[in-house]
């Protein structure tokens, strides 16, 4: 693709690409180094002559130990996991049914309903969190995981529906019609014929929904109050920052360990994840 001398490839391609990669990944490297750095080194000003930013010669597991023994970190992980899985399942269920109806069935107001779901897709959480907190209180869901299990689908369903509609549209109608002629009901044709073909789409939507739930912050921050109910992001923010004191080592350990489930799922399903992003954009 690149014409000309070798140095051109270096200047216009290799160098910028390396800079991008380093710039995008450096904060994660910094997280890792901070996690294993002893406090004596951690709180050494950058002006100090013996400041060694990029490595440590005395790695320690103290911060991780503090995080696991002195905070409710493992509880927060479990909470987040429970909430994310349930919210994902609910959203996939709703998204599958709604996506099928909107892409395959003819009924009055189908178009405007589709637009309505697309618009809710564009409503950010920060627009509704104050009245929603009130509603959660009235339903007596405050400070329980159910507050999040039921509200996360509001931003996941539109996304799942939208993504799955794209997949359903690509499945030939003949496939379903054959099953119908053989005596399958509408429900059977949908569940046994169309859904299995859309499995890659379901995986993409599920993985994406899971990572979005894991990432959510403001609802968790506002709806949960007791330490043992919190999610990872909120727990770390409120329990490892006390007033002006930041427990940097444990904070970074928590950030690192808290990212592991998402990173793992992501690494197994990169292709599906990328398909999820591009599918959500193309619609």
């Amino acid at each position: 693709m690149i014409e000309g001398a070798r140095w051109r490839r270096w200047v216009f391609f290799n160098l910028p690409l390396v800079l991008f990669v380093v710039g995008l990944l450096f904060p994660f490297y910094w997280m890792m180094v901070t996690t294993v750095r002893p406090d004596a080194e951690l709180y050494r000003p950058w002006m100090a002559p013996n400041y060694t930013p990029f490595w440590t010669l005395n790695p320690t597991l103290d911060h991780i130990r503090y995080l696991l023994d002195e905070t409710l970190f493992s509880r927060w992980m479990l909470n987040t996991f429970f909430i994310s899985v349930l919210a994902t399942v609910i959203s996939l269920f709703c998204g599958l049914l709604a996506g099928y109806a909107l892409s395959r069935l003819k009924f009055p107001f189908a178009g405007s309903l589709g637009t309505g779901i697309f618009i809710t897709y564009l409503v950010p959480q920060t627009l509704l969190f104050i009245p929603l907190a009130d509603i959660i209180r009235n339903f007596r869901l405050g400070d329980t995981p159910w507050a999040l299990v039921l509200t996360y689908p509001t931003f996941l369903i539109p996304f799942c529906t939208w993504l799955l509609m794209g997949y359903f549209k690509a499945i030939p109608r003949e496939l379903e019609e054959c099953a119908r002629i053989d005596g399958a009901t509408r429900w059977q044709a949908m569940v046994y014929i169309v859904f299995p073909v859309a499995v890659p789409g379901i995986l993409s939507a599920g993985i994406f929904a899971f990572t979005l739930s894991w990432n959510e912050f403001i609802y968790a921050l506002v709806f949960l109050s007791s330490p043992e109910q919190k999610t990872v992001a909120v727990g770390i923010t409120s329990e490892l920052v006390r007033g002006d004191v930041f427990y940097w080592g444990s904070l970074m350990a928590g950030a690192l360990l808290g990212s592991v489930p998402v990173a793992l799922i992501y690494s197994f399903f990169v292709e599906y994840y990328v398909a999820g992003i591009t599918g959500s954009v193309k619609g």
Binding site: M1, F13, L17, F20, V21, G23, L24, P27, F28, W30, M31, T34, P45, W46, M47, Y51, P53, C94, L97, Y100, A101, L105, F107, P108, T120, P124, Q125, T126, L127, L128, I130, P131, D134, I135, T151, T154, T161, T185, W187, F217, I218, V232, A233, I236, T237, F246, W248, M252, G254, A255, S259, V262, A263, Y266, V270, V274, I277, T278, V281, G283
Partner: protein
Amino acid sequence: MVIDSVAAARPYVAAPRRGPVTRVLENERWFAFFLLLPTAVLLGLFIAYPFVKGVMLAVTDAKVGVPGNFVGLQNFAVLMNDSIFRIAVWNTILYTAVTTVFKLALGLWLALLLNRHFRAKALTRAFILLPFIIPTVLSTFAWKWMFDPTFSVINWTLFHLGIIRTRINWLGDPQLALISVMIVNVWRGVPFYAISLLAGLQTINPELAEAAAIDGARPWQRFRYITWPLLLPVTMVVVLFSVIQTFADFQLVYILTGGGPANATQLFATYAYQVGVGTGLLSEGAAISLAMFPVLLIVVVVQLLYIRRVETH
């Protein structure tokens, strides 16, 4: 004769007997209704209802534990004269505009780089997405620690490269704080732009660019007159999503500065949180976050119209 007619009727007799539920579901409209029901209930309860409730809250003087009375548009009138609110509006617009330009430019650049063939391409692409998938709050803490004025690795690097002479107080200086917040937002957003635009680039037939090259088009001309127009529809959708997310951003600023110093990085969402949850003035907080709505609506409508126009061309 009798036997014949029985044989003809058999397929109908042999068809499975269907209960009343199945019969209702066989009607296309009822089927669609039941399929959409769970979604409609959840979205109605937790999007439409809170929206209405938000509007109702915003026209009262409710506080935490106090139902409040109808006060009309007083909350909005108060906001108009609230200097912090004005700062928040201006900051939000600036924050959205500046970061969107940078995210688009850098994301496009990265997408063009990734669109070439090189070793370890799949691996590079997978790693590049990390800032986007790692929970924002968690990665933002890493940035907060990198920005720490006393222990900053960024300051150390810049100092040893000879670019700065004294320490830079990234988050403590009112002028710099907004820029620092923008840097983190761009960092987090670039991968999303790059990967989406890369997908758009891959749908463009390379023969077009090759034909233009044979006709003597320079690389810049090929990009300007072939790649860019074909990429425009995808770009518009990516920008639409990103603008909405950025406009309503909360987590980043909440973690990095909490809106400070002296409200220098206050955005719509952080100010709404501070007033509605921090101070407990529910109605005013609801009014602040609702004030986002008209602006978002305009952005969405303009972009959707533009996308439609681009697509019909």
